[in-house]
Symmetry: C2
Subunit: 161 residues, 2 copies
């Protein structure tokens, strides 16, 4: 048996794997009418959910401040992926909702990811891919999805109010 690889290759492989998938996703999304979509957008749209959400809640879901969340909303609104409406029950709240285009982006993303996964299945075999997923699930304990990755990588302290 050969010797184990050094520990530091593991994180590199994981990051590279993530990047490989996301790059492929956006290459295909661009081809399917979403050239302006960026990796973060999927996270935000996912967090918005089917029923809508407020900026504060959104920030809480994503692990960033409400201001940062509001900025994303503004961007995605400009791109036509989100819309905001007043809440009739609470004049303070403005509900952020996905537009048809936003839903389309998510639907296509899901489909494309399924295709990419099928590609991995061809390369690795169904059993080994399932094992890979199961194992990652074990070691990560399925933490919440957070998109404060930029600042996190660079190292700025995160933390809401």
């Amino acid at each position: 048996m050969s010797t184990d690889p050094p520990g530091f290759v593991l994180p590199l492989l994981l990051l590279q794997g993530f990047r490989t998938l996301v790059d492929a996703l956006h290459a295909e999304l661009a081809r399917q009418g979403h050239p302006d979509a960026r990796p973060v957008h999927g996270f935000v749209l996912q967090a918005v959910g089917p029923v809508g959400i407020t900026a504060v809640e959104l920030g809480r879901h994503l692990g960033v401040t409400k201001q940062a969340a509001a900025k994303h909303v503004e961007t995605l609104e400009r791109l036509g992926y989100l819309e905001r409406a007043a809440d009739p029950a609470d004049a303070r709240r403005k509900i952020v909702r996905r537009t048809g285009r936003g839903a389309d982006l998510l639907a296509r993303s899901a489909e494309i990811f399924d295709g990419l996964r099928a590609g991995w299945e061809d390369a690795l075999g169904a059993d080994r891919l399932r094992a890979l997923e199961d194992d990652l699930h074990v070691v990560t304990r399925g933490g919440p999805l957070r998109l404060d990755v930029p600042g996190w990588l660079a190292g700025g302290g995160a933390g809401d109010h």
Copy 2:
């Protein structure tokens, strides 16, 4: 047999796995005298290599502009991880080298990563972890390491001069 998970969980698992490892690394690094170390720093120090490098070359290795690379060097110099020296053979070049502290950070990181990998080995079994690494190696084809992750996630176009 149960049905396959949707494709979009795969990238999430990979990212979460990466984050899990890196968070654990830096928690331990902070305990071992490197509280200011941040995820990017390891990438930079690794790219600098044992013999030193110029800012332009560094940027090329990392997939960012020379200005961005120079800023990282400036930061790491301030933290005591890097030092710059004039090249006697070429008055234009300034060689960036790791300091003793920089080498120490890398050494400790390698050691800690080994420990984290051992933890995963305990949780998953040696064979399955090896399979996971091998499989990731297959699907990623071992691309170069790039640290333009922040801008990449957000979506800004990358590209040197």
